[in-house]
Symmetry: C2
Subunit: 343 residues, 2 copies
DNA sequence: CTGTTAGCGCTTTCAT
DNA sequence: ATGAAAGCGCTAACAG
């Protein structure tokens, strides 16, 4: 491999017969300095001719900006969620910023990677994507501290923090669940099973409240809340048990689409016709919902928008240090398919 | 926001009563310099006390290494594929390198983002993940040029380049397809439908060859190759048409799992029993395969390993410039589920 | 064994 | 309208 000599702004300056400063002014389109059109042209041409690319590390060192943001998410996060979110982020940050994936592994500095990255100036800010609180309860306080006390530009996406001091873009799980339940009730369902995971998170609380509120607004609706294990085998067992009592209800709401898939699968197995015997609706969607049989009615989470809005928020913080913290809540959308019908 | 004065190695040096060089030596554990244990301790303690984090941009500028790698993939890539690959990459690059997501959008430099990132030293090398050639045929030559002529450290993951000059980690689509077809034949299937996308890629050619070779090894097997449109509606139409002639064959192979989902769905709709009337197998897998009814038999692609091996390769190139290019091929694994049975 | 010092490539203030 | 020069924080060759 032959040693490649980097083309620097000095080279461009020489080639164009100007100084490095001028090159910088022109290439960065600096406001407040006016430069002759002819010089401008010369410099731009010289840069092109030599194949000049400013060294981003040198720029970063000088300007104290890495021009990168970090995204942190637990590994075991639902995969779909992650990618759609990422797409949203990309769409909002533009060409100048890049995305660095951060883990929360403790590194050689004794801190989680995202923290070290920030401290080492590898990233300018952090986007937290729905860390699952029940998995690491205590961390939230650390995050809050980082955001409020340490003044690290952070946006929490898909968090429900209720804290006016931090930037938070939340999904309205409450309203999504409310819509889903209302939809069922409007369609004449009066006995409804509600399948939730067997642990409690803010998210699940919101959903539960949404479902309950919808139910309570109507007389004589019976809601049977049933926490089920997230363990695969146990989940299946529980679903079979529930399906065996199908006469006691006419509709099932599930917190996750995965649960709904299991319901649909087992219903087939047991020869129970969906939606004729039971309607099924999930409080989250995925790309597979159009392939289940029957196609699954869901309440879709606004993941792309989540990424977009969170990133916008973060960009604001980075460009204008006086931005006030904001809590935003994004609505879900009900997507009616074939797994639900009226009575 | 109060102006935060960065803690530099100078500060640490002062605090510990040594010079900046010593601090650097100790903190970077530089080989070939021996330093008194007591000094070492002093410095480490000082660093901890002051909360010193080396500025990665300064380090990068100095060492000429960004300690980041870029990953490039078309947007419309299957989502699952992306994340599993990423997991593999993460597992291989360790704590010191980070992952930057790159698009192939042309930026203000007039080049695709990944190229500019490299030229600007934001990344040290590039991982290309299965760009879909049929979407941008001409690009491959650019990549090859970048890799061979420009000497940019690049690894092609899920490419079938047949080029000993570049690093390439490929998936053995041929063998996967061969296995799948053989499996069907071994189970007594003699008339097989083979559903492919209606465009031709290296990947599909490999698969086709695999299926054909398996078929040709046996007497009297009839293979009906059927390209179908990737347009959703047309795909459904085609599948219905095919299912209507179910007496003419006993098994279906699909290139993609998405196609198999459609087959399964439409079979339900038409009251055709899978696997009793028709066996179905897909030449790629996804997380959803255990939720289809019946659960789908697939040939799983080694995506995690793909990420892992590609990243290992890239790491080699970055640490040892004399690494010779290598073409690696990773095997698929047949995962038998319920959509196939013997005759 | 430890310190001095010269840059890495860039931006930006100040001078002209 | 343009140039000179300081310095961001670090590493590493060289000195001692």
């Amino acid at each position: 491999m032959k040693k490649f000599k980097r083309v620097t702004s000095m080279d461009v300056a020489k080639e164009a017969g100007v100084s490095r400063a001028t090159v910088s002014y022109i290439l960065n389109d600096v406001q407040g300095v006016s430069i002759k059109e002819s010089t401008k042209k010369k410099v731009i041409q010289a840069a092109k001719k030599l194949g000049y690319y400013p060294d981003s590390m040198a720029v970063a060192l000088k300007t104290n900006k890495a021009m990168s943001i970090g995204i942190v998410s637990k590994r075991n996060i639902s995969e779909q969620r992650y990618i759609k979110f990422l797409d949203g982020v990309k769409s909002a940050i533009g060409d100048n910023y890049s995305i660095i994936l951060c883990s929360d592994h403790v590194d050689n500095f004794g801190y989680p990677e995202y923290y070290s990255y920030y401290k080492r100036k590898k990233i300018d800010g952090i986007l937290f994507l729905s860390f699952q609180e029940h998995l690491a309860e205590e961390k939230i306080d650390d995050y809050l501290h980082m955001s409020v006390e340490e003044n690290i530009p952070i946006v929490f996406a898909d968090y429900h923090l209720n804290n006016q001091m931090v930037n938070c873009v939340d999904i309205n799980y409450y309203h999504g669940a409310y819509m889903a339940a209302s939809y069922l009730i409007k369609n004449g369902h009066e006995e409804i099973i509600y399948l939730t995971p067997d642990f409690d998170t803010e998210q699940e609380q919101q959903r539960r409240k949404g479902v309950e509120d919808a139910v309570n607004e109507h007389k004589g609706i019976k809601l049977i809340k049933t926490p089920i294990s997230t363990d695969n085998d146990k989940e299946i067992e529980a679903v079979i048990e529930i399906l065996s009592k199908k006469d006691e209800y006419s509709a099932i709401i599930t917190s996750w689409s995965k649960m709904a898939y299991t319901v649909l699968y087992q219903a087939q197995q047991l020869n129970i016709s969906i939606p004729n015997e039971i309607s099924v609706i999930a409080l989250a969607g995925s790309n597979f919902d159009v392939y289940t049989y029957p196609r699954l009615t869901t309440c879709n989470l606004p993941l792309f928008e989540l990424g977009q809005k969170s990133a916008e928020r973060l960009m604001n913080m980075l460009t204008d240090t006086n931005t006030l913290p904001l809590n935003i809540t994004l609505p879900c959308k009900l997507k009616e398919r074939d797994s639900t019908k009226g009575i």
